[in-house]
């Protein structure tokens, strides 16, 4: 927190602050005019300067409250600090009233300061009460500030975590995919040079695209699918006839925006935990459809339910799930289901068309 009082730290708060002098002045007027100690006019002229001084004087309670917090500090120390501060502040306040009384002598006569002096105990007590009131208000203010600060901090952390996760995700081109692809290229160079070259090109295309897309905030489904297809082309050279891709991509669906590389982990899972587990391989099916204001994406693949579990199956899924939640909150739906020997992932989110 800054050294400046939070109320003074912002411009718009000065007038409302000054206006708090009104009830204080009214209170003091009533107090001074009671039982005829002062006439109404005298009370008013004394009450206003006292009220304005009070407003600024009791603002300083904030610093005391900061130095000796009501919660978490040592009780004795807190009590003593506030007692001393209250006595000090009230003395200054009462003295300022004495000054005002002296200045008012031309108006109300020479006895005015003495008549004021008679009211000092009442004013001092009132000052103590004002101090306590101010302390209570400041305690509330501090608590609210602390809560806000905590919220802001939490939000900042959340944003940082999300960014870190995204960054990690963008950088997450599985090295094993690269190693396996390079191994295939190494094999093809000897037996089938044109295909080796083709594979280099697909691999480059996939790498270039995934690097470029990761930099953007949103991309059309079309580009995401193009990336997935470049990936599947590379994997197709590894798996040969075991890997087939089927797509049903509606134009409206392809135009919708999604976070970049949203589908990539799902497509990789479909290969690694699906096609690769089956001797006979199978079909990976990609669907994107817009219906009304919703975008629905489906990825389906066969898998061997008896296959030993391969590592890392859940990582991709939880990544996609949390990215969807971060972007759309409860407006997005993510479902992954095993149906006998088929694996089905469905995403549904608000359709945002590209311009």
């Amino acid at each position: 927190m800054s050294a400046l009082h939070p109320i003074l730290a912002r411009k718009g708060r000065f007038l409302p602050l000054l206006s708090t002098a009104i009830p204080i002045a009214a209170l003091l007027t009533g107090l001074l005019a009671r039982q005829g100690a002062f006439r109404f006019g005298e009370a008013v002229t004394l009450a206003w300067p006292l009220a304005f001084v009070a407003v600024f004087l009791f603002l300083s309670v904030w610093y005391v409250a900061m130095a000796a917090p009501l919660r978490g500090g040592r009780i004795l120390r807190t009590v003593v600090t506030h007692a001393v501060a209250a006595a000090l502040i009230c003395s200054v306040w009462v003295l300022s009233g004495a000054g005002a009384a002296r200045l008012l002598v031309p108006l109300w006569g020479a006895t005015f300061p003495q008549r004021y002096a008679a009211q000092v105990p009442v004013l001092f007590t009132t000052g103590i009460l004002l101090y306590l009131l101010s302390l209570a208000l400041h305690a509330v203010l501090l608590a609210v500030e602390a809560t806000r600060e905590a919220e802001r901090h939490a939000l900042q952390l959340q944003v940082l975590a999300r960014e870190a996760e995204l960054k990690a995700l963008r950088a997450q081109i599985h090295p094993h995919f690269l190693f396996n692809s390079l191994n295939s290229i190494s094999a093809l160079v000897g037996t089938d040079p044109p295909r080796a070259r083709e594979m280099c090109l697909y691999l480059s295309e996939f790498l270039r695209k995934s690097l470029a897309l990761g930099e953007r905030k949103s991309i059309p489904v079309r580009e995401e699918v193009a990336l997935a297809k470049a990936y599947l082309e590379v994997e197709g050279l590894r798996f040969g006839s075991r890997l087939t891709v089927e797509e049903a991509l509606e134009t409206g669906g392809q135009d919708c925006l999604v976070p970049p590389l949203l589908l990539q982990p799902l497509v990789e899972n479909a290969v690694r935990h699906g096609i690769a587990t089956r001797v006979e391989g199978g079909v990976i099916r990609l669907e994107a459809r817009r219906s009304g204001n919703r975008l629905r994406i489906l990825i389906e693949n066969p898998f061997d339910p008896d296959a030993p579990a391969r590592r890392g199956a859940g990582v991709g899924l939880s990544n996609v799930r949390s990215r969807l939640a971060a972007r759309y909150g409860s407006d997005a739906l993510f479902a992954a289901r095993k149906l006998a020997d088929r694996y089905l992932v469905v995403l549904s989110m608000p359709a945002q068309a590209a311009d």
Binding site: P175, H176, F179, N180, L182, N183, S184, I185, S186, A187, L188, G190, T191, L237, R238, F239, G240, R272, A276, T277, R278, V279, D304, D306, A307, P308, A309, R310, R311
Partner: protein, 257 residues
């Protein structure tokens, strides 16, 4: 290698290009005869039994059976060289006495070194008899339990998901697995099998028995301090004092009866 000792090689990888580069590089070496190529774990186990290779070049992630399960099921005297893109399996490969661990992609020289090591290993005694079930224990990622048990009968491979295992019984140098109406014999000791199973679901109730606690119907007092476990299909298994303590610890007071 100029003094080429003849060596029979089996290649196992589910990706055709990966098999072809192994074949290309290995067939250049003296004395190598490639006796077979397999695209999945079942084929590999069958081929290893029928073709009696000296060395298997073995991928890890494959359909049906992974490389570690294949290692577990084939003759322990066959030298195994793992060939994979994953460096994370290296420690487990060492635990199952792999001759070498080659990372994809590789140079011909690197593969040649692996072949030489395999040659050097020939004629040395195979790993100790308990190796088979120890291999099974190593065939799973650290901190997890077996989800299935693989058993070979001749050239046939049975895969038993652990929830279908009723109990296992020690028999000489092997373990008999009881699953449904079937009995399967697997090499290795009951101790190392028990080590691989989830202790929350499988209990060593006796020196010779490991029981799936889902199959336990009740316990009967047999003699002072000794009990009999009655399974839901009526089978009666002996429970030792230690076994009873373990059951009690797992089931709480229920086992008191």
């Amino acid at each position: 290698m100029t003094d080429a000792v003849p060596v029979r090689v089996l290649i196992v990888d589910d990706e055709a290009p990966a098999r072809s580069i192994l074949r290309e590089m290995l067939s250049d070496r003296d004395g190598v005869s490639i006796v077979g190529e397999c695209a999945n774990g079942f084929e590999a186990v069958k081929a290893a039994a029928e073709l009696a290779p000296d060395v298997v070049f073995l991928d890890v992630e494959m359909p049906k059976l992974d490389g570690f399960e294949v290692r577990e099921l084939i003759d322990p005297s066959i030298a195994v060289v793992f060939v994979t893109a994953y460096d994370s399996y290296a420690l487990r490969a060492f635990e199952v006495h792999a001759v070498d661990y080659v990372l994809k992609p590789f140079r011909a020289e690197r593969l040649g070194d692996a072949l030489d090591r395999a040659r050097a290993r020939r004629g040395q005694p195979p790993p100790p008899p308990d190796a088979a079930t120890a291999l099974a224990a190593a065939a799973r990622p650290a901190g997890t339990y077996l989800s299935r048990i693989v058993v070979r009968e001749g050239t046939r491979v049975h895969v038993v998901p652990v929830d279908r295992l009723d109990f296992a019984e020690a028999q000489d140098d092997a373990v008999q697995l009881k699953t449904g109406g079937r009995k399967l014999r697997k090499a290795g000791t009951i101790g190392s099998l028990a080590d691989g199973l989830d202790p929350g679901r499988f209990v060593r109730i006796h020196r010779s028995y490991v029981l799936n606690i889902d199959r336990l119907a009740r316990l009967e007092l047999y003699a002072k301090g000794s009990y009999v476990a009655i399974l839901s299909d009526g089978t009666r298994l002996p429970v030792s004092r230690e076994g009873h303590a373990r059951l009690k610890a797992l089931l709480g007071t229920e086992a008191g009866a």
